[in-house]
Amino acid sequence: MATDESQNLPKVIVFIKPPVFTLLGEHYFHSPIFQFLKAYESPLPLHQFLTTHAHSIQAILSSGGAPVTADILDKLPSVRLVVTTSAGLNQIDLPACRLRGVAVANAADVYSADVADLAVGLLIDVLRKISCADRYVRQGLWVTKGDYPLGYKLGGKRVGIVGLGSIGFEVAKRLEAFGCHISYNSRKKKPYASYPFYSNVHELAANSDALVICCALTDQTRHMINKEVLLALGKEGVIVNIGRGAIIDEKEMVQCLVQEEIRGAGLDVFENEPDVPQELFAMDNVVLSPHRAVFTPESFKDLAELVVGNLEAFFLNKPLLSLFGDE
């Protein structure tokens, strides 16, 4: 119905249905300024769909699972903007965008509080065995087996933040209130942060009791958390990942957990979602989350506002709200 009324509105192509459309509601993304062209609702195969509509598409709404490649950009020569529903941009060929003068706008910091909250929640859960102890009670074991084994104190722990961007900074701010000692590794030292800086992640790990992965997935950070880093973190170390699965060498991490080279892990992301290494299912010292750090109505509403704001600004020739520029 909407498409009949608004044939003349500029078009934004959407390749797959973004989870936020389902979980929050498409109506939050409605605008009188533009309309969505939903490739996923067409019976045509994607390349044919693109060829049919190429001339009219000026912007792409991208979500994880539908990468924006150089090839796609070539098939859509009128595209000048890619807006993502994610903060992460690992599914976007950024150099290809730059080359073609295509601007990219991401979710900026609308998610940062929720992601930071989850990171802290996962860290407390691993150290204090919350999910595990909850299972213990529900299985009736408190009555039959007695008191639950002790966990580990969070206060006073040295926490190494990998990537001190918007999310990393929010994590640091929260953990300081728990009496944690914060240090970090980032591509560059941050002038606004007074935490100790380590220029490489191995040294950060060697001086931390817990690592929280908050950085972007890029060619440089892929498998950055490898066996050496995990061994440096040590037998009493805990790792929390709310970035992207591939930042950690997952096979090595699983081995380290199996061999008790590290104490535990809290993971919201994995290398091959939704597949999770089976070995983790038998472990009591890991907490697993199905990549939903941003899945709150509050975050999604803020995201919808930002996405619509960016697209409307673009079509009205105004400055974008969250233009991504490499720092």
Binding site: D117, I124, L127, A133, K153, P290
Partner: protein, 313 residues
């Protein structure tokens, strides 16, 4: 000091048992099937009781031990110790404040995050293979929610400081207002419950605070409200809590304590909006050792006629 009889009334820490055994004649009350006989036999040699959250020293026990001089509790809460009786008889009482404040406050926030963000449910979701079939649903944001705290002592303040880091407005009910803290004060629990998103019980258990969370308070907190109890089970009318959760009148609950530990109402086992913990507030390796050291320190100080470390009576 090896001839001094110390009665440990419930198991709490094997490290504490070991350290007590090294210094005193330690009797573990729970290992005697006939407690009355035990008391008859040993009443003249017991000069100290070591209690914990689960058991302390009531009037009957105190009266049956004429040589009792000190009750040292492996806890900060003293609801299981008859403090008035101890004062009357000149019996000293010590607890373990401060060392466990951080752990309990950490757990309160951990429970809030676990309930609001459904951490335990998510973990179950992944382990059961359900993620392969579809995405998890939406959960509730914690940052910015109003946190109401009952009892603004050491633990209550610790919870407030942590919640502030999540940009949560803080309000509280306490016996006395604390204007220097700049949190919003409510003179009664009902008003506090009506005006917060998350209600945390952090006060001592006394006759006044027994069932301080009753049906009225629960209804005031409401279908979107969350109750967190890291105090004592009897703070909450458990029967009312269960029916409110089953009927959807309360949004969720994170509970570390229950009225009849280790028994937990089984009706709660099937609910996804509750997190149930087996009284682990101070349950870390580091803190339990610190607590045990304080118990030992207090007993040694007493019998060496030195000032007690953490006297309450």
């Amino acid at each position: 000091m090896e001839s001094i009889g110390v009665l440990m009334v419930c198991p709490s820490s094997t490290y504490l048992e070991q350290e007590l055994s090294k210094r005193f004649s330690l009797y573990k009350f729970w290992t005697f099937s006939d407690k009355t006989q035990f008391v008859k036999t040993h009443s003249n040699s017991i000069r100290a009781i070591v209690g914990a959250a689960a058991a302390g020293a009531d009037a009957a026990l105190i009266d049956s031990l004429p040589k009792l001089e000190i009750v040292a509790s492996f806890s900060v809460g003293l609801d299981k110790v008859d403090l008035i009786k101890c004062k009357d008889k000149g019996i000293r009482v010590t607890n373990t404040p401060d060392v466990l404040t951080d752990d309990v406050a950490d757990l309160a926030i951990g429970l809030i995050l676990a309930v609001l963000r459904r951490l335990c449910e998510c973990d179950r979701y992944v382990r059961s293979g359900k993620w392969k079939k579809g995405d998890f649903k939406l959960t509730t944001k914690f940052t910015g929610k109003t946190v109401g705290i009952i009892g603004l002592g050491r633990i209550g303040i610790g919870i407030a400081k942590r919640a502030e880091a999540f940009s949560c407005p803080i309000s509280y009910y306490s016996r006395t207002e604390k204007p220097e803290l700049k949190y919003k004060y409510y003179s009664n629990v009902l008003d506090l419950a009506s005006n917060c998103d998350i209600l945390v019980v952090a006060c001592p258990l006394t006759a006044e605070t027994h069932h301080i969370i009753n049906r009225e308070v629960i209804d005031a907190l409401g279908p979107k409200g969350v109750l967190i109890n890291i105090g004592r089970g009897p703070h909450v009318d458990e029967v009312e809590l269960v029916s409110a959760l089953l009927e959807g009148r309360l949004g969720g609950a994170g509970l570390d304590v229950f009225e009849h530990e280790p028994n937990v109402p089984e009706e709660l086992f099937g609910l996804e909006n509750v997190v149930l913990l087996p009284h682990v507030g101070s349950g870390t390796v580091e803190t339990r050792k610190s607590m045990a050291d304080i118990v030992i320190g207090n007993l040694e100080a007493h019998f060496l006629k030195k000032p007690l470390l953490t006297p309450v009576v």
